[in-house]
Structures are given as C-alpha cells and as structure tokens.
Amino acid sequence: MILEAKDLNYFYQDGENRRYILKDTSASFEKGKFYTILGQSGSGKTSFLALLSALDSPHSGTVLFNEQDIKQIGYEKYRRNNVGIIFQSYNLIPTLTAVENVLVPMSITENELPEDKKTVAYNLLDYIGIVKSKADRFVNKLSGGEQQRVAIARALATNVELILADEPTGNLDEEMEQEIIDIFKKLAHEHQKCVIVVTHSNEIALQSDQTFSLKKGVLTADE
C-alpha cells in the first residue's frame, strides 16, 4: 500500500455550524493501479485530492504515504519528492517552454535524477507524445491536449510513484480524453505507478482498476 487516507474530516465553518465536505473518509491505494474517484460537482472529490496531495490539511485524520504520516514528512517536502499532481487547467508557466516547464520540478525535487536533466525532460515529453519541436515552444502555443501532456510529463519528471490528477480531461475533447486516459493506464500498469484520478465521468471510471464514489462527503468503494 503506497497511500492510505484514514478517517479524514474536512469541513467549512458556517457560523456555528460545520458543513462537512469529507466525513470520516478512509481509503487505501496500491502501486500499479489506476484509481478513479467519482463524484458530482461539490461532492468533495477535489478537496479529497487536495488532502491526498498535501495542498491542504484535514481538520482530523491522517494521510499515510508508505505508512508515514505526510504531516511528519512535511507537506512541502512530500509534494517535492513523493507526488506528481495534474490539474484540470494544466497550470503550466506560460513564460516557459514545454521542456522548461518539465525542468522546473526537476530542479525542486531532492530525488536522485540523471545528470542530463534536459535530455530526460525531452525523452519524457516524447514518451507522452510531445516531439522536440513542440517541446521547445512556449506552452501557450500548444493545444489543450498537448498542454495536458506537458503537465503529465511534469508530474512524472521527479520520478515519483504517486500521480494525482484533478479532472485531467475536463477541458479536452473525447478523442484527446481517451489518449490521456491511455497514458494513465500505461503509467499504472507498465510503470507500476499509483494513479488516482478525480473525475465526474462514468466513462473514465469504467476504465479504472477501482472506483471510489463520493457522495455528500462519504466515500464508498465500488465493487
């Protein structure tokens, strides 16, 4: 088990009332599997992903990475060395080229990486489907699908085992959506990564190894 959420509680304080987004939520995730967390808008799936990626902290409960509390690892350090995050709106730096965007996390992480980082970055982009001529373009000159591929390459750049994606195909057409899902499946099954994708799409959920449904703050594992 690479990642485990234990009794997570997350709420918004509304006057004297607490509005629970997640209530006693628990789940565990293994390497080599492609997971989806399915839920409607406002169901709390993005908050759940934020807690798993240490972009936010729960009011109670713990997130364990390789059986170690990520709070103890340190949220910043955990994000730096242990997790790759992909966002719906890509969140690339527009003043940098595609390859430069991939190089950014490589300079931030403390993980051991090959000396020639630029070559690694080009190879990663190529593997994801971005050829060198496109890798040297500024990211705002790329299509949405290409930008999301760059974002995936960036998430993989630090050689992490855990990939978390928040609605990664939300801004893409169906054809592109499938290509991206195929990449995730390949990463899980061929490269033994643990890929967790938050989505509201049943089609994507059907392609995953396991789906969790999130309704009114309660997470249930689908059979």
Binding site: T46, L55, D56, I85, I93, T95, L103
Partner: protein
C-alpha cells in the same frame, strides 16, 4: 531551472514589465542619486572648510547670556578671570595638541618706524596723538603657536627657548618687513617705548611717565596668510589692515608684556588715585587669553563637553569650526533641502516600487502557486522575485548613478546662484581666530563628484530601499495558499 535561472528568465521573458519596473527605479533612482550627490558635496564642503578653520578652541565670556540677564542680575554680575592653573589643567587634556596663553598690549616706539603696507609706503601719514603702532604679543608656548599653525613662518633666526619664556627674557621675534624697513637683523636690538598718558582731562593727552623696552631680535617671521597667495582678495581693505597689524606684531615672552603692563598701571595709579582703589590685586593686571589646538577636528565636541564643567560661570568654549555656520549659509540650506529630498525620495521609492511589485505579483499569482504546488520552498520563491527585482534595480540604479549625479550638478548650480544672490554681502570671519574665509570660499569648495564614497553610498541606499520595498509585498507570497490558486 533553479530559482536563480527562473529569476533571470523572468526578467528576459517579461520584457514589458521589466522595462516598466526599470523606468520606475531609474526615475526614483535619479532623485536619490541627486540628493546623495548634493549631500556628499555639502558634507565635503563642511569637512574641507572646518579643516581650513582649524582645531583652535578658546574660552570666551558668554555675552549672549549676559545680554539675557535681568537688570538685577546684571548689577551683581562678576566675571572672574581664567587663571593660569585652569589653563594648564585644560591644556593637559588628551584632546589638546598644544596650547598657549597670551597677553598683548599696544606699544609705541620713538626709534622704530612701523610698517604701513605696500600701497601706502610712500604716503606720509600724520598721526595726531601718541603712537601705539606696535602690538607686543606675549607667548607662553616657546615654538610660537602662530608659526605652528602656519599663520606666520620663521624665515631667519630662531624661536624662543623655554628658559627665555620662563624668565621673561628681553628677546623678540619681529616681521621680516618691519626688520627691512628699519635695517634690523637677527642679533640687533630694538627699542620700544612704554609711554603712560593721561587722557582724562580736556581730551588732550599728557605724558605722565615712560620707559624704554629694549629687546634683542632672535628671529624674523613672514605672514603665511592663505589670501596672500590668492592675489586680489574679495575684501582687500580689511585684509591689508590685518596684514599691517600682523607685520607690526612683536612676539615676546608673556612676562615681558606683563612687566610692561604692571609698569603702566603702577605709573598710572600714582597719577590717578581712584584707579588705585579699583586695582586692589596684582592679579587684575594679568589677563591671559588662552588658545588650545586640538589633535583632531572630531575632538571638538568631546573637548567642549569635558571643559565646560571646569570653567567659571558665564564662560564657554568657542571652536574655530563653530564659525562654519556663519559663512556656510547657502550650503547649509542646500544640505537641508537635499536631506528632505532624499527622505521623500526613499519613502516614495519604497511605496511606489512596493506597489508596482505587488501588482506584478498579483498578476503572477498562478505562477507562484505552481511553484508552491510543486513543493518549492517559499524562501526560494521569495528569492526568485528578489533576484528579478534586484537585478532590474541594479541596472536602474547604475544608470541613475551617472544621470542623477549630472542632474545634481545642474540643480546645484542653479540653487547656489539663487542662494548666493541672497548672500550678496559676503559673510567673512574676522575674529580672534584670525581666519580669512568667505562665503565665496565655501561656494568654491562645493563640488559634485563621482567618487567612490558617493558610489558606495548610493548603491547602499538605493539597493536597500529597493530591498525594503520588495520585501513588504513579498509577504503576499508567504501567505499564498496553493490549493486556492490551483484548484
């Protein structure tokens, strides 16, 4: 792609914003640079002029305080003399390089012709009344402080010996011009005449008694006034008068002056018994003017602080450099204005650059959130922004270093002209320190320079100002929540 490289790319890839920031820093940098240039120039003037004014300090009666007294206080006023023991005690302080105390008197001569200046040499001046054309100046410091301080220079013979000073030997040092006029040389004797007159009745003077003062010439001096080298002075008449006065000064040991004073008053009181009652003690005849020369200009305040408690009531310490304020009016006002400009410029820079950086940061909120979501340390994100701003700041400051200096020259010239018009009557120092400096001298020594002091000062002030103005908006980054930005 570490934070340093990201910072550098941030400058080159966002040219528009970099140029806006550069322009703002350049404009504000000119203000700071100009103000610092003027400040440095005025400070240089102050140190140069104070150096020329010298380190002399004297003990004077505080006439301002006396003037402020009520009539009753004034009636009871009693000013005691500074006695020799106190002078010696003050002279023994560590700040004092050497000191002297002097007693002077005017004296005439029947055999000696006084020096009357170059221009009036041929004119025949008829004096109506007793001749007192010479100043008998007593000294206690054997090497003569006037020579040590370059007021005069020994050109022939020698200075006094300690024995001669202590014993009050009848030896003298006179000016070269006075010696030439009377065909006197070192080793010759000169005869002065201490004549006692009564002026009391009908305004006609009456000779009561007189005696000759025969002195051996041991040395000749020449005045070393700074103005002598400069040719025409701005106030030739007064300078000539001072020069003639000095040429007719005869340096002798204090005891010689004291003895002649005693003779004078002894003879006078024989004639006027009312005076005898007033001069009860011998001490009343011994009034010395002390002068102290300090080791350093910087010691003046410390010297003042230490000496003031030792002085009798109503006395104060006056330094030669205190005269600076009297002649440096235009410079002082420029110094004040440039000080205000510097303060306003620094505050404006902090506010304006702070605001510009904050606006740019808000614009880059997503980018900063990305770095944080990737696990970048906040300190490095702050470092990246600092690098960007400081590099642009460095370029802006370097450009304004020259233009601000150039600007300061133009502004200074205009301001000095305007200020000088208000000081049309040149202030000049004529006092017991006998220093000949005018407002023109002060203005002449004003010079905007591009020296290392100015460069270091400007870079320190400029970069610190930019640093402060960047650090304030950077707290914005520290408070950023990556989840709120990214999701």
């Amino acid at each position: 792609m570490n934070f340093i490289k990201r910072g550098l790319l941030g400058i080159t890839r966002k040219k528009g914003k970099s140029l806006i920031l550069l322009a703002v820093i350049f404009i504000l940098g000119n203000l700071i640079s100009g103000a610092i240039s003027i400040q440095q120039a005025t400070n240089n003037v102050e140190s140069t002029i104070k150096e020329r004014l010298g380190t002399a300090a004297m003990l004077e009666v505080d006439y301002e305080e006396i003037e402020a007294m009520s009539e009753e206080e004034w009636m009871e006023l009693e000013i005691s003399n500074i006695d020799i023991d106190l002078i010696k005690q003050i002279g023994g302080l560590s700040y004092v390089k050497y000191y002297d105390y002097s007693m002077s008197t005017a004296i005439g001569s029947e055999s000696l012709e006084s020096y009357q200046g170059e221009e009036t040499e041929e004119e025949h001046i008829i004096w109506d009344g007793p001749s007192m054309e010479f100043t008998l100046k007593g000294i206690n410091y054997a090497p003569v402080v006037d020579f040590e301080e370059q007021k005069g220079k020994l050109v022939d013979g020698r200075v006094f010996t300690t024995d001669e000073v202590e014993n009050g030997s009848a030896v003298a040092i006179i000016s070269n011009k006075l010696a030439e006029k009377n065909n006197l040389n070192v080793g010759d004797t000169l005869t002065l005449n201490n004549a006692v007159y009564d002026y009391s009745e009908s305004g006609e003077e009456e000779l009561i008694a007189s005696r000759d003062v025969i002195l051996e010439i041991i040395g000749l001096f020449e005045p070393q006034s700074a103005k002598e080298d400069k040719g025409e002075s701005s106030d030739g008449g007064m300078m000539d008068f001072m020069d003639i006065d000095y040429q007719n000064t005869v340096y002798v040991p204090n005891e010689v002056v004291s003895s002649e004073e005693r003779y004078y008053w002894e003879e006078y009181v024989k004639f006027d018994n009312d005076y005898a009652d007033m001069l009860v003690e011998d001490d009343d005849l011994e009034y010395y003017t002390p002068i102290f020369f300090l080791n350093n200009q910087e010691d003046t305040e410390a010297f003042k602080e230490e000496v003031m408690p030792l002085l009798p009531e109503l006395y104060l310490v006056v330094n030669a450099s205190d005269q600076y304020e009297d002649i440096a009016g235009p410079i002082e006002s420029m110094s004040k204005i440039s000080g205000y400009v510097l303060l306003v410029a620094v505050i404006a820079t902090v506010l304006i650059i702070g605001l510009v950086v904050l606006l740019f940061l808000r614009d880059r909120k997503r980018e900063l959130g990305i770095y944080l979501s990737l696990g970048e340390r906040r300190s490095r994100v702050v470092g990246q922004i600092l690098i960007e701003v400081m590099i642009i700041g460095m370029i802006g400051i370097s450009l304004s270093l020259f233009t601000g200096n150039f600007l300061a020259q133009g502004v200074s010239e205009t301001m000095l002209e305007a200020e000088h018009d208000q000081f049309q009557e040149d202030m000049m120092v004529y006092n017991e320190f006998e220093i000949d400096l005018t407002t023109d001298d002060v203005l002449e020594s004003y010079e905007i320079q591009l020296n290392s002091n100015y460069i270091v000062m400007f870079y320190v002030v400029g970069l610190l100002t930019i640093l402060v103005s960047t650090v304030i908006p950077l707290t914005y980054i520290v408070r950023l929540n990556p989840k709120k930005i990214m999701m």
